[in-house]
């Protein structure tokens, strides 16, 4: 394990976390999402204005609706008629305003009927299970199979033109897609534990639906309502255009468009306001649906991230492999002396800082190294930054998060400055990764054989038959006893442990030198976990693979790793050999973590209460400039408020190359429980006293 204390002097002059602290995230807009963006606000305003204007039309219309001026037919916009006149000389503005409610009102009724039938049906079907759900789904499918416009025309033929009645029938037909959308959602909401909790509490089923299931679907309801409204408007206008709208003197948008289309070659102006008002309303409804559904926000964020990525990629790459960065970011080794401190190290991470773009840093000045064939554990609790650190190495950070400083030396190259296409060449071939959920990592649509042979053919350039042979060999290497059967299977047919073995085989297809394992056994049973750890150990021994394993479980680290780095709030607080760090922890946090483990060594009594660390981990925006653990540490003094350098840990086990980031490290003779002031007399490693 290379010691990062070789860069000691520069660390003492380091400032706090890189990047300015962000004020965002605390003050979120209080407006409903629909009106937070310009598009949503405008759309909502248009729709409200339209309806209000139409309902109050008799109060402000410049001319009576039916007032004809035979001498001013088909006139363009003028001072007296703002939107011109139609073929009988009637004022277009008045007719549009009066016709708005006549056109839009029945559509609102259709939407109300559709939801009024569809949602209770969906909730009932989701609650009562198989037979009820089958019955209502077949009924909905029947409705969906009917051609809606033809049914409406048949209705008109049988009963005449009654807009409100026609729209009610449309509502009944539209209840089928509403049911289909919401029955699936309701079923999925019902699997959430708080619905189970309400049922155990004896809450009546009506109340469970109203208070728990329906609110969870609120966003989807709003989005679907807006979309159905848009569809309904078009159907209604279409019917009116065909002549099945309100009878002749009453204006309707479809009727107006029909009138306009008759004179469109001679006097085209009439089509403009009539067509525009319909188009704007439909667009407004769809924009509102998008905004409420959050699609706009997501698109904006994606575009901003893409712009940032482009800027990053365009930065000049200095010869030697270090990308140019603002001087404020690199307080570490001066660019130019870029040789790795330890030429034997396979991986040498120096002062790595990862931050949210225009936001707080998530990981600050993390340093560690690995020899070939060694296993390093990155250990910490959630929020410490271990997963972000592991993902930063092959450049797999999520959108909006980027490397803001430091270097990642891998086999002589700095990965932190490499452009994407060069990183892609390294991923899979030299650095491979497995993650926590093997079932999610495997594509459910393709067989295991396909998923294995594709990368084999890509990396090794062999034909299909040879690739299949290699795949079977790899599966054997990961301990699968019947490779042929597994090659034919699909991911859902495998157990969790088998799937993780397949993922490890996938990782080995490129013959990587470094395997990054991000909590590979967290989702597995403990007996399966033991098997996977044995497998990883044997792979290290036989192939000389190096493994960087990220875990929150100190037992896993003790089982598999040679070296360990303990992380807290974005920093490495202690690092060294596993025997040294876990046997004789120097940092109070490491000692506290070991104390909080409920396992007791053989022969010792079970403690009455577990020693626990008061407080919670600080969020990245709240990190102090001094020791980040000081707020929860029993040994903290005033000096802990200043930035703490990483120093060599004394007595850090056989190797003596450990580091600790603490000005009050525990001495080898000090009992860990005395360190955090808790009255539990438990030696951490039985039999080890010095």
């Amino acid at each position: 394990m290379t010691a990062s204390s070789g860069t000691g002097p520069s660390l003492t002059t380091a400032a706090g976390p890189a990047g300015p602290p962000a004020a965002e995230g605390r003050r979120r807009s209080r407006l409903p999402r629909a009106v937070r963006s310009a598009g949503g606000a405008l759309s909502a305003a248009w729709l409200v204005l339209l309806l209000l204007g139409s309902l109050t039309a008799p109060l402000w219309e410049p001319y009576p609706v039916d007032d004809q001026e035979p001498l001013h037919t088909l006139a363009g916009p003028s001072g007296s008629h703002w939107l011109g006149t139609d073929q009988l000389g009637r004022d277009v503005l008045t007719r549009i305003a009066a016709g708005s409610w006549i056109s839009v009102g029945p559509v609102l009724l259709a939407v109300a009927v559709a939801f009024g039938i569809g949602i209770p049906l969906a909730l009932t079907a989701a609650e009562h299970g198989r037979w009820v759900e089958r019955g209502s789904s077949r009924f909905a499918e029947l409705l969906l199979a009917l051609p809606s416009v033809i049914i409406l025309l048949a209705f008109v033929g049988a009963f005449g033109v009654h807009p409100w009645a026609i729209m009610t029938v449309l509502g009944v037909l539209l209840s089928a897609p509403v049911y289909r959308i919401f029955v699936g959602q309701a079923q999925s909401v019902r699997t959430l534990l708080y619905v189970d909790a309400a049922r155990v509490n004896g809450v009546s089923s009506l109340r469970v639906n109203l208070r728990h299931v329906l609110p969870a679907m609120a966003t989807t309801i709003a989005v679907q309502a807006a979309q159905l409204f848009a569809i309904g408007i078009l159907i209604e206008a279409g019917l009116a255009f065909l002549g099945f709208g309100p009878s002749v003197p009453s204006p309707s948008w479809g009727g107006l468009i029909a009138d306009a289309s008759q004179s469109v070659y001679t006097d085209p102006w009439l089509m403009v306001p009539t067509g525009l008002v319909l188009a704007l309303t439909v667009i407004a409804a769809n924009v509102l649906a998008d905004t409420v559904g959050g699609e706009r926000e997501r698109e904006r964020k994606r575009a901003a991230a893409a712009r940032r990525a482009k800027r990053r990629a365009a930065r000049p790459v200095v010869a030697g492999g270090t990308a140019a960065r603002p001087a404020s970011m690199t307080a570490g080794p001066v660019a130019g002396t870029v040789a790795a401190a330890d030429p034997d190290a396979l991986l040498d991470v120096r002062d790595l800082t990862v931050a949210v773009a225009d936001g707080p840093a998530l990981v600050t000045r993390v340093s560690f190294g690995m020899r070939p064939g060694a296993v390093l554990g990155l250990v910490g609790e959630s929020g410490c930054g271990k997963t972000i650190t592991a993902r930063a190495l092959p450049g797999l950070l999520p959108e909006g998060v980027q490397v803001a400083g430091g270097s990642v030396w891998f086999a002589g190259r700095d990965l932190a400055g490499l452009p994407e296409h060069q990183l892609r060449a390294i991923r899979g071939r030299e650095i491979a990764m497995i993650s926590q959920e093997p079932m999610v990592a495997l594509d459910p649509v393709f067989s295991i054989g396909y998923q294995l042979t594709q990368p084999i053919r890509r990396f090794r350039g062999v034909g299909r038959a040879e690739a299949r042979r290699i795949a079977a060999e790899l599966l054997g290497q990961v301990g699968i006893t019947d490779p042929r059967r597994v090659l034919r299977s699909y991911p859902h047919q495998l157990s969790g442990g088998m799937a993780q073995r397949v993922c490890i085989a996938l990782a080995l297809t490129g013959s990587p030198r470094l395997l990054i394992a991000d909590e590979p056994t967290t989702a597995l049973d403990v007996t399966v976990q033991a098997e996977i750890l044995s497998l990883l150990r044997s792979l290290v021994k036989t192939t000389g693979l190096s493994v960087l394993i990220v875990s929150h479980d100190l037992g896993v680290v003790a089982d598999l790793c040679d070296d360990v780095a303990v992380m807290y709030a974005g920093q490495v607080v202690e690092a060294g050999t596993v025997a040294g760090v876990l046997g004789q922890p120097s940092h109070p946090y490491t000692a506290a973590l070991l104390g909080a483990n409920p396992h007791v060594a053989e022969g010792l009594p079970v403690p009455d209460r577990l020693p626990s660390i008061p407080g919670t981990v600080p969020a990245p925006a709240d990190w102090p400039s001094g020791c980040r653990f000081a707020g929860r540490c029993a040994l903290a003094t005033a000096a802990c408020a200043d930035p703490v350098p990483a120093t060599r840990a004394h007595g850090a086990g056989p190797g003596g190359t450990g580091i600790v980031r603490c000005i009050h490290p525990l001495s080898p003779r000090q009992e860990p429980h005395q360190a955090h002031g808790l009255p539990v007399p438990r030696p951490v490693e039985p039999g080890v006293t010095s």
Binding site: D196, A197, G202, S382, V526, G555, A558, H599, V600, A601
Partner: protein
Amino acid sequence: MTAPSSAGTPSSSTAPSVPALSVSGLVVRYGRAGKTPPAVDGVSFDVAPGETLGLVGESGSGKSTIGKAILGLQPPAAGQVLLHGTDITRASLRQRRAVAIDLRVVFQDPYSSLNPAQTIGQTLQEPLRVLRVPKEERTRRISGALTAVGLPADAAARYPAQFSGGQRQRIAIARALVCEPQVIVLDEPVSALDLSTQAQVLNLLADLRDNRQLALLFIAHDLSVVRFLAQRVVVLYRGQVMEAGPVEEVTQRPGHPYSIALTAAAPVPQPAEQARRRAAREALGVGTAGAAPPPAAGCPFAARCPLATDICRAERPPLVPGNGTSAAVACHHAGEAAGIRLPGVAA
């Protein structure tokens, strides 16, 4: 020594009182009979008033299904669930409301067990509203429950999103306490929490165990956590009880090959000790989990057990008290199992 209860161990209470929770011959199936083996296949145990019983197993053991069947979320195919002697096995929702007012639950996932659209106060008063507790009494009980779990009383006005995972789990425990129950089913309450948060919540549960006369059914997959909190433990494998008894016996001197494998598999954070355990575990020779399908009859562990013989594959072993141990073991070779027990390897 009093007569063995259905868990095969002498009751730890001084007087033979009615058990707070009693499960006998429980069978729960997902899907039709005969197609797949039942998720829970003939499980029986008792929880005495004021006792904490641990239900331990891996995935597929049926431990969560047992919890759901007790709570009425999953109807059993056969068997009985008695709460203070009253049969609640197939009680409808209305019947349950009247009878099971003191049977509460804490679920595993702190992120989906609280309705994100309701404040903590609304979530906590929901069970009280169902029980028709008057308003003033409700406020008193809510603030009492929040104090008991170490949260400030003003937490009632906030939303779940403003709390961390550990705090949300405390709120879930407060929701169980607010009705002043006598039996609480805890379905893996600390599995989703960090180590330091887990320690805090375990200490809280230990306080509740000691200060209130609560019967706790603690479902978990981690034997060391169960050893910390429970007095007795039942080990499950594929829906059947493999071993049951006092927690010290089962975790320190396991009598069933599966219990031995389970205790040996959990890694400990001391490297030297872990190396010893690993060597001993590999010497055990327990088969891989997914390697072969379980036999249709007989002991479900037979496909992986180093001691398995023909009788193990043919006949299901009964749960009987072991030799020289106060735990009950379901194994045809219980005597030899004690022989393969690994020295120095315990939960």
